[in-house]
């Protein structure tokens, strides 16, 4: 707290127990009104079809009391901490320790990721969860190209995930094509849809872009639901072939991998294989993105995010630049979708709702736009954190929503708040995100 004591405290900030009490009382009163009917009265369709209700004044009182107590605590913490900013929350030595750890964090995470199937070989649940996290890491990295680098807002990213998943599912179940043939096809098809979406949104800015991408995502989902003859409608597609290890199936049969290697079959083999498959796909996404950032196309994406008018004045074709960003992001989404389909063996439109798009976007923004490491950390935090609440079933999304709000208030610029330059002469120094523009999307 020594760093903080030097700061002159704002004189206008009132304090004292009377002030805290007054604030807490107001909060409690607001809570009372807000929850009076929604919590105090519970409605349900009665046995005869009519509506019945009963009261829950106990719950209401408890909740209002909690708000009262909670706001006293929050207010006390606020006064004790003083004005909240980075310096006062995290002291300087800790900050430098964090930045030192940050340099080793990425390699350490990578090594750890490779070792996960070894360490947790017998824990199916953890393997499953790791595969899920890696899928979102890949989706986050894919969307990062569009949102983080090119600064184009995309609220319908899940559409490309869906296109990839259905491409693989339909090609595999109808034509018997293998995963390895379908994977690039799924990517290409998704990229094609990315360009298709790109065209109408070329001239749009900001929130117009947001609604069109959102509408696009919904259109794809609604078409999947209603085009029953092709997609199976709400019932989805089942019996999607599992991936093979380049032609060798991971099954207990005689031609399976286990039999050929002469080891005992275990269903975990397939999980481990899936784990390394998604890890490889995610790392490929990462490698390509890092590579692209150092190429003219990647610099043009970032320049587009910074200032579109200046880009045009420098002879950059902003149309193709935007379209390539959409296509690249969509392609990665398509790959991830194909993986999702082969992992699940069953897909339905329920997996491709707006909530998924919002989740992936939250991962990108929370990661710190444009930061590869940040996106990976955010995916780990969000998906892992979400899993922690698995037991609370119906409260899960509620907690998730609250967490999203709090995280944004805590770190509006994301976990990693700086941008690494793509080229340097003498010093490779990070750029504070306060200077980095957020794009017009």
């Amino acid at each position: 707290m020594s760093a903080n004591s030097a700061r002159p405290s704002p004189a206008a900030q009132p304090s004292g127990s009377a002030f805290i009490l007054k604030k807490a009382l107001i909060s409690a009163l607001v809570a009372l009104v807000l929850f009076s009917l929604m919590i105090g009265v519970r409605t349900e369709a009665g046995p005869q079809g009519g509506l019945i209700y009963w009261t829950r004044f106990g719950d209401l009182a408890a909740l209002v009391g909690a708000v009262f107590g909670g706001s006293i605590i929050v207010e006390l913490l606020r006064q004790w901490w003083g004005p909240v900013d980075k310096d006062s929350i995290v002291p300087k030595p800790v900050q430098s320790a964090i930045s030192f750890a940050g340099r080793w964090l990425a390699p350490a995470l990578l090594v750890f990721a490779f070792l996960v199937p070894v360490i947790f070989y017998n824990q199916r649940y953890i393997l499953d969860l790791s595969i899920l996290v890696l899928t979102y890491v890949m989706l986050g990295w894919g969307l990062n190209v569009v949102v983080g680098l090119a600064g184009l807002l995309d609220l319908g990213y899940v559409a490309f995930y869906a296109v990839g998943a259905y491409s693989y599912a339909l090609l595999a179940t109808n034509f018997g094509l293998s995963f390895w043939v379908c994977l690039p096809l799924a990517g290409i098809l998704a990229a094609f849809w990315g360009v298709l979406l790109g065209f109408p949104v070329l001239r749009l800015r900001g929130d117009y872009l947001a609604i069109v991408t959102l509408a696009f995502g919904e259109i794809i989902r609604l078409v999947i639901i209603n085009w029953q003859s092709l997609t199976g409608g709400p019932n989805g597609v089942s019996g999607i072939p599992r991936p093979t290890m380049f032609g060798i199936p991971l099954t207990p049969g005689d031609d399976g991998l286990a039999a050929r290697l002469g080891i005992e079959f275990s269903p975990t083999h397939r999980l481990v294989f899936l784990f390394y498959l998604i890890l490889a796909m995610a790392l490929l996404t990462n490698w390509v993105t890092i590579r692209l950032r150092r190429l003219p196309i990647g610099r043009a994406w970032e320049a587009l995010r910074e200032d579109e008018v200046a880009c045009r004045a420098l002879g950059i074709n902003t149309t193709t630049t935007k379209l390539t960003a959409f296509a690249t992001g969509a392609m990665f989404g398509g790959f991830a979708g194909a993986f999702f389909a082969t992992r699940q063996g069953f897909i339905s439109p329920e997996s491709f709702t707006f909530q998924e798009s919002a989740l992936v976007l939250a991962i990108v923004v929370l990661g710190g736009m444009g930061s590869q490491l940040g996106v990976a950390l955010a995916a780990l935090a969000m998906i892992g954190g979400f899993e922690l609440f698995r037991g609370f079933d119906q409260y899960r999304m509620l907690v998730f929503g609250i967490a999203m709000v709090l995280l944004m208030i805590w770190r509006p610029r994301g976990l990693i708040g700086h941008r690494a330059p793509t080229v340097f002469l003498e010093r490779n120094q990070a750029i504070s995100s306060d200077l980095v523009k957020e794009g017009h999307g």
Binding site: L34, L37, A45, P200, Y208, L398
Partner: protein, 305 residues
Amino acid sequence: MDYFAQQLINGLVLGSIYGLIAIGYTMVYGIVGMINFAHGDIFMIGGFIALISFLVLVSLGLTAIPLILLIVLLVSMAITALYGWTIERIAYRPLRHSFRLAPMLSAIGMSFVLTNFSQVSQGARVKPVPPIITGGYTLHEGAQGFAVQLSNIQIMVVLATIVVLALFTWLVSRTRLGRDMRACEQDQTMAALLGVDVDRTISMTFVIGAALAAVAGMMYLLYYGLVDFFMGFVAGIKAFTAAVLGGIGSLPGAMLGGLAIGLIETFWSAYFSVEYKDVAAFSILIVVLIFMPTGLLGRPEVEKV
């Protein structure tokens, strides 16, 4: 022709509801420049509060339907408005001068919170209510036995919309608050320098937007006779589409966009297929935006070089 007239009536009624919600989106966008993703859920909360207060009033022994409806309307508007105020206070105000995507994600988070709050507190099942306002008029009896119907509830929805819009227009154009709102829309810093309480004006914007959404929620409840925790999402997206279609930031545009979306949806369902009505609405939005990138009545964005 009769069939067409009937669809026109249905479309206008639906469009009125969308328009009322769309105004909330457009108002907030005009002043704060953010998409209030939680607004659709505010509409849903409005519907729920109307439902619960109606139930409570009836069980208390009140029988005069007009009186009940009036009380329900006022209670629903007041409590929902407080929801709007609280959300702005908790989730948006700390992010007001921040990075633009942060408030948007905060709003998406808030939308999840509201949806799941009402699911947890009121259960996931659809809540039906018996028809409260019944009866209507047969406008025209067709040759094939098809009659054009105009029900009392339809009349009420349209009338309520007109009254609320008139009040709202008066508020924005004639009152001090309206002037402050228009000033904040132009330039918040300058407005603050000239003595406009910007924080209060923004709070009031959310309060008014939420109150309008509550009216829409109650109309929806009366018209369709049911509410559920998920209805805010679809209605919200449609109303947002309407606001953008009309030109976000423009109040007449929001109403026009609402009517347009309502009509598109109704006519598409009537003449083509019900399944693809939302696809049609979204596709038309995209087509309109290709040719008019700032919507039907939006101010064209002039880029200063």
